[in-house]
């Protein structure tokens, strides 16, 4: 019992630390205080999450929330991602205190979704995340306003749809808890399921609810994009899993085909649009859309193996995309915005060129890097569930993606250029951390697989 209370404290303490420190930091205009406060908060959260995962605890909170290893898995992901984003923002944001405040709010939203035992915390969590992310963009000047407004409008629309979908099943599930609703409820349940898919399709950036994504990713500062793509979208996958496998678990046979189609079109949409893309940020926005398609593959499979693979890939991709946007933001600050600007990047800064190449190879699924194992277990789970076409299309998509990654790699290792770029140590820190994850779990993935598998076993 004491351990559980202690762990609960560990899980809740960070929010107090983060909010308080950022409020004080805004008053006292101290950037460092904001950074250390936020970092302390997320580190405590990550520590708490590790303990929960390690001991396999289930800690109920306030009746609406329960911290399980599944939520701890995402909490760990969110907190380490947040730490990396904070470091990036500390370097590049002019309004870091405000950013840290909104990041803390967003982090609370993530926690609410991760620990949700009911549909209400999910709604509140999405609101917190969407609104504070929009503000994170807005505080960085008027030219970010377009992206912020787009995110805000679509975010509120999605939340509205989500709320409507919740309302439709209210009579079968008056407590709104994440418990399974009975089968054979007829149209109402089906419409509700459809609307949930629409809302979460928006949150997870699946086609056709993702058309706004590239605009927002491109318009936002790179570190906010990293937070959006690396954390917010990943938490949304958990919400998707919670709704589909906790509430609509009896309807699996109805929805898995739809999720399968969503996965395929999302992969294709992202990859095909990335082919002709010149702008780096937009290219990686499309790339992250296609990677969302891969994650949906595991959810469409729906078996324990499939969900394990999805969680694995969520974790892997989160760090890959944060690393990528760290590099892209760094390059942007040196006037490198397009693929052509990447020419001779290797001779200008070898570290950046090599790390970018490694991360992209990992995304493309080259053995020895974490992305390969992610795709490997995703597609094996699809094959063992008999979904051969899904696996084949997934592999074909990996081939397509190699084309546009190769363009960047090709450009960066060409010619000599004497105008060297000096590496920034904050960016370097973030990239090294991401690379460490990518290579460690790429060489030896078993710890991450068993972690994901333990988390996935909490999905009914």
């Amino acid at each position: 019992m004491i351990i559980e209370q202690l762990a609960m404290l560990l899980v809740l303490l960070p929010f107090a630390v983060m909010i308080l420190s950022s409020c004080v930091a805004i008053r006292s205009k101290s950037r460092r205080l904001a950074l250390w406060g936020s970092l302390a908060g997320v580190l405590i959260a990550a520590f708490g999450a590790t303990i929960v995962m390690d001991l396999g605890l289930s800690i109920p909170l306030l009746g609406y929330l329960t911290v399980t290893p599944l939520s701890a898995f995402f909490l760990f992901l969110a907190s380490s991602g947040t730490a990396l984003v904070e470091i990036l923002a500390f370097r590049y944001s002019e309004q870091f205190q405000e950013f840290a405040f909104f990041m803390s709010l967003s982090f609370i939203g993530m926690f609410l979704i991760a620990a949700a035992q009911s549909l209400l915390p999910i709604i509140i969590g999405f609101e917190l995340m969407t609104v504070s992310t929009a503000f994170m963009m807005l505080v960085h000047g008027r030219k970010r306003a377009e992206a912020a407004i787009k995110l805000f409008i679509f975010g509120s629309l999605a939340i509205a749809v989500f709320a409507f979908a919740t309302a439709l099943i209210l009579q079968y599930n008056p407590s709104l808890s994440l418990s399974a609703i009975p089968q054979y409820l007829g149209y109402i349940a089906m419409v509700s399921l459809a609307l949930f898919l629409v809302a979460l399709g928006f949150e997870t950036a699946s086609f056709p609810f993702n058309l706004w994504i590239p605009d927002v990713y491109q318009g936002a500062p790179a570190f906010v994009t990293a937070a959006l793509a690396g954390i917010n979208k990943k938490i949304a996958f958990l919400a998707l899993i919670e709704v589909l496998f906790f509430v609509f678990t009896a309807y699996f046979t109805s929805f898995y085909r739809i999720v399968e189609v969503l996965a395929i079109v999302t992969m294709l949409f992202g990859n095909i649009l990335a082919l002709k893309q010149k702008n780096l940020k937009r290219l990686f926005a499309y790339s992250s859309i296609s990677q969302a398609g891969y994650i949906l593959v595991g959810i469409a499979v729906g078996t324990h193996a499939g969900l394990t693979a999805s969680l694995f890939y969520i974790f892997a991709h989160s760090f890959m995309i944060i690393g990528v946007f760290a590099i892209v933001g760094f390059l942007e600050s040196h006037g490198i915005n397009t693929v052509d600007d990447c020419n001779s990047l290797y001779s200008r800064n070898a570290f950046i060129a090599v790390s970018l190449t490694l991360i992209m190879l990992s995304m493309a699924g080259i053995p020895g890097l974490v992305g390969f194992f992610g795709k490997f277990i995703l597609f094996t789970s699809a094959i063992s569930a008999g979904m051969y076409w899904l696996a084949v299309i997934g592999v074909l998509n990996s081939f397509i993606s190699i084309y546009y990654y190769a363009r960047i790699v090709n450009a960066s290792f060409q010619r000599k250029n004497e105008r060297t770029i000096l590496i920034d140590r904050y960016v370097q820190m973030v990239v090294v951390f991401a690379l460490a994850i990518i290579i460690t779990f790429g060489v030896f993935p078993q710890p991450l697989i068993s972690m994901a598998s333990a988390a996935a076993s909490f999905i009914p």
């Binding site: 787009k150 629309l157 629409v198 058309l211 082919l275 193996a305 063992s384 084309y403 993935p445 078993q446």
Partner: protein, 579 residues
């Protein structure tokens, strides 16, 4: 996974040698790594953790497990690798006298040794395959080390093509076994593999082993690989690279024999041996002769393995490592003293005691003179042979074999007798390495019966030993008469030789046929690839056009996105209502 630590020193030195500022430090760092490795191997010998397994990752229901083993076979192989790599690094510190080359050279050779050690501790096909690929890649770098020479680049390319064919074959074998067994640990394979699928897998794996060990018809790359620096050859031909194929066949021997691969091993070994000795006798390139001799030795090991005698093969394996390393080191000294001349007819040997003693030790052990290791190894192989035809062929081969190796020794010496100059002045580290390896050759010849229980070593019958020595003497006499005393004039000699190499004509014709078939297959693949490329290109254009089409959806207007959102929502509701 204690055993994995043995790889660490060389990995570290591989990284450090590249990063370190001063080029003088690169060599010592690699050397230190080698010494630490020797220490680690010794420690593992005393505290043997045995077989260890580690789940690498789980895909679906089947965990993929990495297994390392430190059986006697593994640990001796590890010891040989650690010792020879260290000696070669010591030797290279003197041999590689161009400062700008040192970083890359010592880094590559460290990675090569690390890959080899990983291979040597593997007891499952995944670990073995990873090590296998690493050494293939590192050897590509090392063979083509002198990039400015076109021949070196070509040789490296040839090697890597042959080796990739081998990798592909081995991978097919592994895939077949996985399909059948869902486990790749050697112990499991040996216990459970059976049937046609297993035989096919065994065939693929044997073919893979033959490519690495440069056996017929995959032997050509090894002789071209002479373009690499001489220490690299000393390493490639002794403890590493070519040994990988034999080692693979050794650890899988019960499985291969069960799958009926014995005759194939014997056949491949026998043809390789014949091709090798004939070519060795007609070649004049000092390192090429040794390369053919390596092919011969590997062939002998495969013959012994084909007859199911693991220990006979291993005995030769052990001694061959030492004497071939020494022979290459001596060849390196000789060529360095002669301004990189490689033709034995032009090389000038030395009779200074400090030089000639290691040379004689190496040659004597290679030829198989009685108290030295080579004798025991080769006689053990002879004793393992239980087929009279094979035995008779081997006897003939041994005469030729002893002829070419004494020719290798005597021709430079006879040149010296004529020109009388001797220009030996090599760096101390080279001399030291040569001495240590010479001591190793002698010591191993003396102590081997006492290592780990003499009862387990294979029997060497007295008769086989005596016959072997007789053949050796015949060969030596012929060699002495022909090449040192030059009883027959050089021109006549050449015509005799050309007649002799007529024997190899059918083999070469066959080889040409193989090449022809391969090139036909190659052009067929090329044709196919062209169509494939066309398809890919058309698809690519298609995708790019679709991309342009899709791009219209990305015009940035919120209205449009909202419309799409709502259309999607309506579509989803409709679809679900229909279901």
């Amino acid at each position: 996974m204690l055993a994995l630590f043995v790889v660490l020193p060389f990995v570290l030195s591989g990284v450090l040698a590249m990063l370190v500022k001063s080029d003088r430090l690169a060599g010592p760092i690699a050397l230190a790594a080698g010494l630490v490795s020797i220490g680690l191997v010794g420690w593992l010998y005393l505290n043997n953790p045995g077989m260890q397994a580690l789940t690498w990752f789980t895909a679906g229901a089947y965990p993929i497990t990495l297994v390392t083993s430190l059986s006697q076979l593994h640990i001796w192989f590890l010891a040989l690798i650690a010792f020879m790599s260290t000696m070669v690094i010591l030797y290279s510190m003197g041999f590689m006298d161009v400062p700008s080359e040192r970083h890359a050279y010592f880094s590559e050779i460290s990675f090569f040794a690390a890959g080899m050690m990983l291979f040597a501790i593997g007891a499952d096909l995944i670990t073995l395959f990873v090590g296998w690929e690493l050494i293939g890649f590192a050897s590509y770098l090392l063979i083509g080390f002198w990039r400015h020479r076109e021949s070196a680049v070509n040789a490296a390319r040839k090697a890597v093509i042959v080796l990739l064919i081998g990798d592909l074959l081995m991978f097919s074998g592994i895939a077949l076994l996985w399909v059948q067994l869902h486990s790749l640990s050697l112990a499991y394979i040996e216990a459970n593999a059976s049937g046609y699928l297993a035989s096919a897998a065994a065939l693929f794996i044997v073919a893979g082993a033959l490519t690495k060990s440069a056996q017929f018809p995959f032997h050509e790359w090894l002789t071209d690989a002479m373009e690499g620096p001489t220490p690299v050859s000393a390493l490639l031909h002794s403890s590493t690279m070519v040994k990988a194929g034999v080692f693979l066949a050794m650890v899988l021997l019960p499985f291969l024999i069960k799958a009926g691969m014995g005759p194939i091993l014997i056949g491949a070994g026998l043809i390789s041996v014949i091709v090798a000795v004939v070519n060795a006798l007609s070649s004049t390139h000092i390192k090429r002769i040794l390369a053919y001799s390596t092919i011969e030795d590997m062939g002998l090991m495969f013959i012994a393995l084909g007859f199911g005698s693991l220990l006979a093969a291993f005995l030769l394996f052990l001694f061959q490592t030492l004497y071939k390393g020494l022979a290459f080191m001596n060849a390196g000294e000789l060529t360095k003293a002669n301004n990189d001349e490689m033709d034995i007819r032009k090389l000038v040997g030395s009779t200074r005691l400090a030089i000639i003693v290691p040379v004689i030790i190496g040659v004597a052990s290679l030829a198989g003179v009685f108290p030295l290791g080579g004798f025991f190894g080769k006689a053990a192989v002879d004793s393992a042979v239980s087929n009279y035809v094979v035995y008779a062929v081997l006897m003939l081969v041994e005469v030729v074999s002893s002829m070419y190796i004494f020719r290798w020794l005597l021709v430079p010496l006879s040149n010296r007798a004529r020109s009388g100059k001797s220009l030996y002045n090599e760096p101390r580290s080279m001399v030291m390495a040569v001495y240590i390896v010479s001591i190793g050759v002698v010591a191993s010849s003396l102590v081997w019966p006492y290592l780990s229980g003499s009862s387990r070593w294979p029997p060497i019958s007295l008769l086989d030993g005596a016959t072997y020595t007789l053949m050796l003497l015949v060969g030596f006499a012929l060699s002495y008469a022909l090449y040192y005393k030059r009883i027959v004039a050089a021109r006549k000699m050449r015509s005799i030789l050309s007649q002799l190499s007529d024997i190899s004509i059918p083999i070469n014709t066959f080889y040409g046929f193989v090449v022809w078939v391969a090139s036909k297959c190659g052009s067929a693949v090329d044709e196919f690839e062209y169509y494939l490329y066309s398809i890919v290109k058309v698809c690519g254009h298609g995708f790019v056009n679709i991309s342009l089409l899709f791009e219209r959806t990305q015009d940035g207007s919120i209205n449009y996105y909202l419309v799409m959102f709502i259309v999607g929502a309506i579509a989803a509701v409709v679809i679900f209502s229909v279901i």
